[in-house]
């Protein structure tokens, strides 16, 4: 999230097509009866990252970054040749640093050991030695090609809903979609309007975005597209929002066109 998305390492090096992603799982596929199990593994590990992240008091954005790192790592590696549990811990450890909210390596080791050893997972072999995690970090950063800044849909969502920048106003300009640009060129929109979403609908969109990390979407689509898709799904699934859209006479068949942009 340094400059704009189109100039980022995220866009230039870490967006793949589905065939490439499938190819990355070729070795693992030899060990499963049903290819769908591989997707289940992806969900399982994403949940685990989220659990460990919460134990470490990591913010949602840092957890999302850790998940992106995990998926990028397994674009180059196979589950069956590695230990995903230590990879998960290293992803959380590096993501916390990359998001400028570092957690101490000792805490990561302690929390990871506790979490993985419980009855649900039964992984008792997680090393207690900090240097093993630090070693994994070293190899992880190498496999990530040192690209440690990831873009996330949360930012687009909050920008479209006019919810960002209030606390740090004079230092938040420009971003993906050119959101909130105060100086320099605007690439998108006028910045005058904002999307009106009920608080609970915004929550729903946020949770849908959380769920996208349980799939490969973050490797396939640019984050702002994922955000807009999440908003679209919210308009369909969020009952009172959906009702109010239906009762509005025009646009009733196409909720997407009913995104209401009103001058703020």
């Amino acid at each position: 999230m340094a400059t704009d998305y189109w100039a980022s390492s995220h866009y230039k090096r870490w967006i793949f097509d589905r065939a490439t992603i499938k190819q990355a799982r070729a070795l693992d596929l030899q060990y499963v009866e049903d290819p769908e199990y591989i997707d289940f593994l992806g969900i399982f590990f994403a949940n685990l990252i989220s659990k460990l992240g919460k134990k470490l008091s990591m913010r949602q954005r840092a957890i999302a970054t850790a998940t992106v790192f995990f998926r990028r790592f397994y674009m180059k590696n196979a589950y069956c040749e590695t230990d995903p549990f230590i990879v998960i811990a290293a992803c959380c450890y590096v993501a916390a640093k990359a998001e400028e909210f570092p957690v101490h390596i000792k805490n990561v080791v302690t929390e990871a050991r506790l979490l993985f050893a419980n009855d649900e997972y039964g992984i008792k072999s997680f090393p207690s030695d900090n240097s093993k995690l630090a070693e994994m970090e070293f190899y992880l950063v190498d496999d990530l090609e040192c690209d440690l800044i990831a873009f996330h849909p949360y930012r687009t969502l909050m920008t479209l809903c006019g919810r960002e920048g209030s606390s740090v106003s004079h230092d938040t300009e420009a971003g993906e979609l050119g959101a909130g640009v105060q100086d320099g060129p605007r690439y998108w929109g006028t910045g005058e309007g904002k999307l009106e979403l009920q608080e609970s609908a915004l929550q729903m969109a946020w949770f849908i975005i959380n769920d996208t990390y349980r799939s490969d979407l973050c490797l396939i689509y640019p984050p702002h597209l994922i955000a807009i898709a999440a908003i679209y799904l919210t308009l369909v699934f969020h009952e009172s929002t959906h009702e109010s859209l239906k009762s509005a006479q025009s646009w009733q068949y196409t909720p997407f066109l009913a995104l209401k942009f009103k001058p703020s």
Partner: protein, 342 residues
């Protein structure tokens, strides 16, 4: 060790075999400098045109005599992460990063000199000031690089002559992003990460007064100090740093503040309304009052043409301080003598 105890052994040996070694790709020619982070070497590429590079090797961590993994430092993570995203003629370019034997090597494009050497060369060898057209050109390029960083939401936080490089063709390159960081929607306030930022002589007054919130304008203050130093060939505010006390509390940097007040006068509430909310405000009030003597400093330095520019860069109120964008449009760069290339 049985596989069950270290399931990553196979992975690591595979990676170790694939990874090119620094010495496969570069011939180390010599040592350039060292710091708390590690060492910088001059090296020639073995591929292609045999270009010269600067390789920054981060110090590996040691437990006793054994080199071990202790985790990559926050500043290395920052410098690597930010450098991977940016590209600009006036910012030192990162060519690649090589991770090898528990050490991190950052390979940068090579620049022959830095501003510190330029200043020394003029003050010690030539014994004459830097000509106004050259000074303006250096300043302009420096601001151009800074504007790029600021537009990318990066605050450098350690601008000083030693970190500003210059190639033999006279192209200015901002270097060392080890203290730099993104300011876009920080998850926690900036001060929480690093208690002390910017080398003392180049540190902005709001930082000296203990401000918890600061922004890009701290870089502009440092730029003002650098431009003034290029003009006079010595640091404009050369204060003594008060050391951290035993509890690692940051003391009020009285001497540094006195040096600033000597030239710029005591900050007034009407020019900087926020000053009274600064944690060190009362300490500042105890200092003897002084009037602004910047113009006479500029005249003495034969730099009267740069007075207006410095005055705006040294605005006490961070919100009123010149921005990089406005600085590039400043009439100083349009007036005679016009900037030139070196």
């Amino acid at each position: 060790m049985p596989l069950s105890q270290d399931p990553m052994r196979y992975y690591r040996s595979k990676r170790d075999q694939q990874r090119p070694r620094v010495t496969d790709k570069y011939t180390i020619l010599g040592f350039i400098s060292s710091g708390t982070y590690g060492r910088v070497y001059k090296a020639r590429s073995k591929e292609g045109d045999g270009r010269i590079h600067a390789i920054k090797k981060f110090k590996p961590d040691k437990e006793g005599d054994v080199i071990t993994y202790t985790g990559i430092s926050q500043s290395a993570i920052r410098e690597i992460a930010l450098n991977r995203e940016i590209s600009h003629e006036n910012v030192v370019e990162l060519k690649e990063v090589i991770l090898e034997d528990k050490s991190i090597y950052m390979v940068f494009e090579y620049a022959e000199h830095d501003f510190l050497q330029v200043i020394h060369h003029h003050s010690q060898t030539l014994r004459s000031s830097i000509s106004a057209p050259v000074l303006k050109s250096l300043s302009y390029q420096l601001l151009n690089g800074l504007l790029y960083l600021h537009d990318a939401h990066i605050i450098h936080r350690d601008l000083k002559p030693a970190n500003i490089l210059i190639t033999s063709n006279g192209i200015v390159k901002i270097g060392d992003l080890g203290l730099a960081r993104l300011t876009y929607q920080p998850l926690q306030p900036l001060f929480a990460g690093d208690k002390v930022v910017v080398t003392i002589w180049y540190r902005a007054p709001e930082l000296l007064l203990g401000a918890k919130h600061y922004n890009k304008s701290v870089d502009m203050w440092a730029i003002g100090c650098v431009v003034a130093e290029l003009a006079s060939l010595r640091p404009i505010f050369k204060g003594e740093e008060a050391k951290l006390d035993s509890k690692k509390n940051v003391p009020f940097q009285k001497d540094q503040f006195l040096k600033i007040i000597d030239i710029l006068g005591t900050p007034e509430e009407r020019e900087w309304p926020g000053v009274k909310d600064m944690p060190e405000y009362l300490n500042m009030k105890r200092l003897d009052r002084n009037d602004n003597k910047l113009y006479s400093w500029c005249s003495k330095t034969n730099f009267a043409h740069g007075h207006e520019f410095l005055k705006q860069t040294f605005a006490y109120d961070p919100d009123k301080r010149l921005t990089a964008r406005d600085a590039l449009r400043h009439k100083w760069f349009q007036e005679d003598p016009k900037p030139t290339t070196k």
